[in-house]
């Protein structure tokens, strides 16, 4: 049978299985709850009239500026803050902040930035059992005589990606609808356009993290260990990178083991930067997928 068709069959099966299995439902519920929770946190100051829209945007600009300066700070690049100011780098950051806060719906921008920080963890819930679940119960032995290991892995990866994209799209749709109806600070057209653009960014960001979850699922035979491994790695990379670069700056490059080092560029005002970041994300996903394929090909199942 055609390998591509088998991949699609595995993806469909994986998708329908996720909707019935505990881990799949947990992923959907948690992602929606956390996503809506974050959105609610962002909307609260304006919803409860703690602040005005203008004041909120001013404060948001400061917060986004701080986030961008931390995210874009390269180890060894500047010795002092004055050096950085002198480089004109901060002007670019200010424009970037303006792009996110003033040029586009600020509430949506902030929600997407926060989602970009928590999704890497949540996405592991949707992919950790892709292979390990079947390996643990040996049910993979019913599949292997009828399919290749590569088709199985790619199908499961595609299934996990489609599930994640669907959940994120629904979440994003709900947030945009809510903003358009309840908090109409911006027009529908601006909301919808920015909603699609940021949805694209989140979908691209999904690829490497889902691939990481699938990779861990091929490395560890027990699903819970695979989950611990993928979540642990996702969290450990920025923690170790930020803490160790104080001791030795090159260790800060560890951040690039995952898209943490460049994922914010998916929201850049510069189209070239966005495309470059998207390609890096897909490249990261490809690397994880190839390692997972090699691992599964050699694994005793």
């Amino acid at each position: 049978m055609n390998g591509g068709l088998q991949i699609l069959l595995h993806a469909r099966n994986s998708l329908s299985h996720s909707l019935r299995s505990g881990s799949g439902v947990a992923f959907i519920v948690l992602t929606v709850m956390v996503g809506l929770g974050l959105a609610s946190l962002v909307f609260m100051p304006i919803e409860t009239e703690m602040t005005t829209a203008e004041e909120f945007k001013k404060n948001a600009a400061q917060a986004v500026g701080y986030f961008l300066s931390v995210a874009t700070l390269q180890p060894g690049e500047f010795n002092t803050f004055a050096d950085r100011m002198g480089s004109g780098d901060l002007v670019e950051l200010a424009m970037w902040g303006r792009y996110l806060v003033l040029d586009h719906p600020v509430l949506l921008s902030l929600t997407v930035i926060l989602l970009g920080l928590v999704l890497p963890i949540l996405l592991q819930l949707g992919s950790f059992a892709s292979i390990a679940g079947d390996v643990q119960h040996h049910s993979i032995r019913y599949l292997l005589p009828r399919t290749t290991r590569a088709s199985l892995l790619l199908g499961r990866l595609l299934g996990a990606l489609i599930l994640s994209w669907t959940v994120i799209a629904c979440l994003q749709g709900a947030i945009v609808m809510y903003l358009g109806i309840v908090l109409p600070l911006d027009g529908w057209s601006a909301l919808i356009a920015w909603g699609f653009q940021t949805l694209g960014a989140l979908m691209v960001l999904t690829v490497p993290y889902v691939a990481l979850g699938v990779l861990c699922s091929t490395i560890f035979r027990a699903p819970m260990v695979a989950l611990m491994g993928s979540v642990g790695f996702t969290l450990a990379v920025p923690l170790i990178a930020f803490s160790s670069r104080q001791a030795w700056e090159p260790l800060g490059k560890l951040l690039y083991l995952l898209p943490w080092g460049y994922s914010h560029q998916l929201l850049s005002p510069d189209g070239h930067v966005v495309w470059k970041a998207a390609l890096y994300c897909l490249g990261h996903g490809l690397i994880f997928t190839v390692i997972a394929l090699l691992r599964l090909r050699r694994a005793d199942l």
Binding site: M1, N2, G3, L5, Q6, L9, N13, H17, R20, S21, H137, H138, S139, I140, R141, Y142, L143, L144, P145, R146, T147, T148, R149, R298, A299, D300, L301
Partner: protein, 344 residues
């Protein structure tokens, strides 16, 4: 040289789990369709051998050619090899019909054809009325039958069945055995089982594996050698003296008694073969005034298995002197070259 007609060819296959040698330089060649038994004690390496042939485990040393392909699990073998693993379980939250349909769709068959085939496969193992049930609510025996059903979906050329009748009630076990017999007409079916009496009636060839080594393989008559076992039901219990007289017959190897049941291993290597040995036995029984009420061929394979695996010797060595007395479960051995068989 590659034999293009070989369905399964294994050469110098070895496999280790850490320090433990699971498979030790096995050579095995199967050229014909039919049913082949794979027997051996627990932990002998049967499931490991199955897993290697099926491509679940990587080949560490040696070669396996399956249906002409030198790589088990290769793309060219997809849907040509079917496996009923011993310990695999089906997804608990999906109906067995949907799971079977998915497996068949991977073979490239879908729609009405696939539905008919799935229903037929489930019907052949007595599960046609369980289509919509989830695997979670199936009993152990039903799960086993479902495993057999998925293995016979399509037209596989090599079928590996690991303990297919373990835990089945007699009626279902018989149904599965009939199914395996039919499968053997169109495919090479390798069956692992501990039920040697059942296997004896089912298989054309047998391989015995002990501690990772294949100690015997070939047609069943060849492996069981000249020893043929018979079970007799007598009209009365016979004495130890009478038992000894039966054993004294030239072509009687061992004899054991349990009430009015007599188990006799005959040497069928004489000029007239089994007929001569049976003639001798029945003649002696008639002389003793205990004509048999019932006579049926017993588990010759079991006798061969015990001899090849050395399990009968181990049991004899473990027995205390008092346990080796003839009564109440009398057993007498021929003075030389005979084996005990009281550990059945």
């Amino acid at each position: 040289m590659i034999d293009t007609h070989s369905l399964l060819r294994i050469q110098q296959l070895s496999h280790r789990f850490g320090d433990k040698v699971a498979i030790d330089h096995i050579d095995w060649n199967l050229d014909h369709r039919g049913v082949v038994g794979l027997v051996g004690p627990n932990g002998a390496g049967k499931t490991t051998l199955f897993s290697l042939i099926a491509g679940f485990l990587r080949v560490q040393s040696g070669t396996i050619e399956v249906l002409g392909s030198s790589a088990p699990g290769a793309r060219s073998l997809v849907s040509r090899v079917a496996v009923m693993p011993q310990d695999a379980i089906f997804a608990r939250d999906v109906s067995i019909f949907d799971q079977m349909l998915f497996l068949r769709s991977l073979d490239g068959v879908s729609g009405t054809t696939a539905r008919h085939e799935v229903v037929a496969a489930l019907d052949s193992v007595g599960l046609a009325d369980q289509l919509d049930r989830s695997a979670a609510v199936l009993s152990h025996g039903m799960g086993k039958r479902l495993g057999v059903a998925q293995a016979i979906l399509g037209s596989p050329e090599l079928i590996l069945l690991d303990e297919p009748t373990a835990g089945l009630d007699p009626a279902n076990a018989m149904q599965v055995r009939d199914l395996i017999r039919n499968l053997g007409k169109t495919a090479l079916v390798i069956v692992s089982s501990h039920n040697l009496l059942e296997l004896q009636d089912l298989i054309d060839e047998v391989a015995v594996i002990v501690a990772g080594k294949m100690v015997a393989s070939g047609p069943i008559d060849e492996v069981t050698g000249s020893a043929r076992r018979f079970e007799l039901r007598l009209g009365r219990e016979i004495s130890t003296g009478e038992l000894q007289q039966i054993l004294d017959e030239e072509l009687v190897r061992t004899v054991s008694q349990n009430g009015i049941q007599l188990t006799v291993d005959l040497d069928a290597s004489a000029k007239r073969g089994l007929d001569e040995a049976l003639d001798q036995l029945l003649h002696r029984l008639l002389q003793l005034g205990v004509p048999p009420r019932q006579l049926r061929e017993g588990a010759s394979l079991e006798e061969a298995y015990l001899r090849l695996t050395g399990e009968s010797e181990e049991t004899a060595q473990q027995s205390t002197p008092s346990e080796q007395q003839p009564a109440p479960h009398d057993e007498l051995d021929a003075p030389a070259g005979a084996e005990t068989s009281d550990d059945r």
